[in-house]
Symmetry: C2
C-alpha cells in the first residue's frame, strides 16, 4: 500500500467521527451500534492516496492485508475480461464504501483491481488491527466479520448471475454458429 | 431443513470427536486448535438426511441458516447453467466438507443447490449456535468467521476465473460468427 504516513485515525477526531458514521450506514452492511463503530475506528489508521494510484491489483500476490473505508474521493473497481484481459470498470465507489475485505480476510491475490480516480482519504484496518480487535473486543470483531461475510456473499451471487448470463450467450452463439454452418453447407 | 431430530452433537461423543477432528483438517481452512474445535462442536447438532434430499436449493429464499459439516456420506453441489437452467453438478463432497456457510452468514438465497447422494450424517451449526459461540467464546467465533471468509474468497476467485473463461469463449465465438457471415456474403 502506497501510504507514506498512516497515523491512527483517532488523531484526527473529525475524521474518526466521520468514519464511525460511515461504518453505520446501511451500505456498509455491518449493523454496528455507535459504540461498536467507535471501538472499530479505534483500530483504524488514516491513509491518503493521490489520483491514479492502484490500491489493489487483480492477480497481485503481494500480501496486502488492509480493509479500506473510503472517507473522501472516488475509487474505480476493475476486472480484466476476456482473453485480452482488457480492464473493465465494474463500479466507481465513494465515501462509505468498504474495499479490500478479502485482502483483510486472507491476503490472497485480488479478484479485482482498485484505482483511485481522485485524491482519496480512507480509514484502513490492517490484519494486525483486526487481531487486536478480536483480542480486545471480540464481539465487535465477530460482527464485523459477519458483515464482511454477507458482503462477500452478495458478490458471489452477483458473479454467479453474471456467469449464468455468459453461459446463456455462449449457448445462443453456438446455435447461431450451427445455423450459419448449416446454411453454408446447404448453399 | 428436513431434519426430524437434531440432538446436540455432544450427545454422541464418538461423532463429536470425529467432528472436532474433521474441523481441524486443512481442507476445512479453519485453523482451529483442538480445544477450539471442541468448543465449536459444543454448539453443533447432529442431523441425518436420506439419499436424494435437497439441503439447499439455488435461488431458494427460504431463510435456512445452518452451516453443515459432513460427517458421513456424500453431497452433490449443483448450479443451474444457461438459459435452460439445467443443473450441472460442480462437485461431490464428502466427510470433512463444510457447506452452507453463506446460509449461516446471511441467510440469503443460495448460489448453488446441494443434494445428498447417499445417506448423510452432518454436524449443523445454526445462526443461533453461532450467536451463542460469539457470546461465550468470541475468539473461536472470530476464527471460524475468518476461515469462512477465506473459503468464500476462494470461491469468489474461482468464479471470477470461470467468468473470464466464458468471456474468452464469447469473444472467440463472435469472431467465428463474423468469419462465417463474411464467408457467406463473399460466397
Amino acid at each position: 500500500m502506497q501510504a507514506p504516513a498512516h497515523p491512527p485515525l483517532s488523531d484526527v477526531p473529525a475524521l474518526a467521527e466521520r468514519a464511525a458514521d460511515l461504518l453505520r450506514t446501511p451500505g456498509a452492511l455491518l449493523n454496528l451500534t455507535p459504540p461498536e463503530a467507535t471501538v472499530l475506528v479505534a483500530q483504524m489508521r488514516l491513509v491518503h492516496f493521490g489520483p491514479g494510484v492502484t490500491l489493489f491489483r487483480e492477480g497481485d500476490d503481494v500480501r496486502l492485508d488492509h480493509l479500506l473505508l473510503v472517507l473522501e474521493g472516488e475509487v474505480s473497481i476493475e476486472v480484466g475480461i476476456g482473453g485480452s484481459m482488457i480492464p473493465v470498470a465494474i463500479s466507481v465507489v465513494g465515501p462509505g464504501s468498504v474495499i479490500g475485505e478479502m485482502a483483510l480476510l486472507d491476503g490472497s491475490p485480488r479478484s479485482a483491481s482498485c484505482t483511485t480516480i481522485s485524491a482519496v482519504q480512507a480509514a484502513a484496518l490492517s490484519r494486525q488491527g483486526l487481531e487486536k480487535l478480536i483480542d480486545q473486543q471480540p464481539r465487535v470483531a465477530a460482527k464485523l466479520l459477519i458483515g464482511l461475510g454477507s458482503r462477500t456473499g452478495e458478490r458471489l451471487r452477483a458473479l454467479g448471475e453474471q456467469l449464468q448470463m455468459y453461459a446463456g450467450v455462449v449457448e445462443q452463439q453456438q446455435q447461431q454458429i450451427d445455423r450459419l454452418k448449416a446454411g453454408r453447407a446447404a448453399g
